[in-house]
Symmetry: C2
Subunit: 237 residues, 2 copies
């Protein structure tokens, strides 16, 4: 936890927040918080700043909070990701959030195992928890929007034009002859398929929506590797 995220409900007055539960235990047991100690904090959806421990009991900590800095700028990338296997989903969602992605669409394809859509990790509260962990990691306060699209064709035909308006549209596809570009200043909508790849019909449908297929070299990579590799490549620094 590189950042303690606060919500409006934590505040007892304009600059005094009270923390209990999971965050209290983390503060005491891992970060060794004690009266006088300063912590980096952020208001969910708002500013970053510093807090000082002003009181501590066996159940809660009171913090004097000063919020002053804006969170880091979002990555201007919308990520469309074929739903990964549940074992990988948690880490991937955290990593994507930490990278500054503010819109993530998890969608279905022919090679996504149907059982993946039953994962309890897709429930809103479980996803929210992973998003918070990603924000805490990256010292950010702005929650990404996560959309679930369990039907490929309506997603591409009906949602994608709006989701990718005014964006460079690219789809990662190992068979493409075009290398993935890098350091892109324009907004990007990036589509990444399942580990078995898109089927030809899916690539054709994406191409009909002006998505350009690009490759990241000749190697078959796990989705945990390919997602940060493509984001790191596309990111405008």
């Amino acid at each position: 936890m590189n950042l303690l995220l606060l919500g409006p409900e934590d505040f007892r007055s304009a600059q005094l927040a009270r923390i209990d539960g999971r965050r209290y235990r983390h503060l005491v047991e891992v970060l060794r918080a004690e009266p006088g100690r300063a912590l980096r904090v952020g208001l969910l959806g708002g500013l970053l700043g510093e807090a000082r421990v002003v009181a501590q009991t066996s159940e809660y900590i009171d913090l004097a909070v000063q919020l002053s800095e804006t969170p880091p700028p979002p990555a201007s990338i919308t990520l469309l990701l074929a739903l990964p296997r549940p074992k990988a989903l948690r880490r991937i969602v955290q990593g994507i959030t930490a990278c500054g992605i503010k819109r993530l669409v998890l969608f279905n394809t022919a090679r996504v195992d149907k059982s993946y859509w039953q994962s309890p990790l897709l429930e809103p509260a479980a996803l929210h928890q992973q998003l918070l962990l990603g924000l805490e990691q990256a010292r950010d306060t702005l929650l990404p929007e996560v959309l679930l699209r369990p039907r490929f064709r309506p997603f591409v035909e009906d949602d994608l034009p709006g989701l990718s308006a005014n964006c460079l549209r690219i789809v990662a596809h190992p068979d493409s002859a075009l290398p993935c570009p890098c350091n892109i200043a324009a907004p990007v909508t990036l589509a990444i398929g399942p580990e078995g790849g898109f089927i030809p019909f899916e690539i054709e449908l994406l191409e009909s929506q002006d998505f350009q297929a690009v490759h990241l070299g000749p190697r078959a990579l796990r989705v945990e590797t390919v997602v940060p590799a493509l984001l790191g490549r596309l990111l405008k620094l």
Copy 2:
């Protein structure tokens, strides 16, 4: 397993290999191998090709092997990585191998927990197993070399000049004002610190060896995310 890796000891004649043990069970239980079935194979350190199941018992499978293709070209990046926590090491070593890195140096810094050096994952047989899994993932046959350097200063002063000769030398450091470059055709030696970052003395020592500090944006990322992000960015496609 996207590739079945064979060793010279698997061959009973020039083109006939016999597979038992872990790989036999994977072939039968996961890949549903049966007589007549074709598989992608590679000879460790050698060529890629195809094999056909010509006999199957309850203990082994015999394969008729045709090797003809060269493995994918190596990434021309030497990766110097502060030893990660053991929980992350396994996935990171697999991912680095899959990305085509052929020389990985795991080194110590002030913010690497000393206990990490006791991890059983650092034993040669355990590391070798992770390297094989990375090669199988990426359909490659060329094992990376892995060097362990538990003392920072002798590593930087004595080993680094040779390891980074004729390379672009860069070190990932969030405080740098210089963005990480991308799509680099020249050989690169890339140094990545621990999650807490390098201490100033360490950055100065690396800079004294002509390493240039670069950043990947304002966000604090986990090592599992930052390693593929930097590799994906630097890779020449």
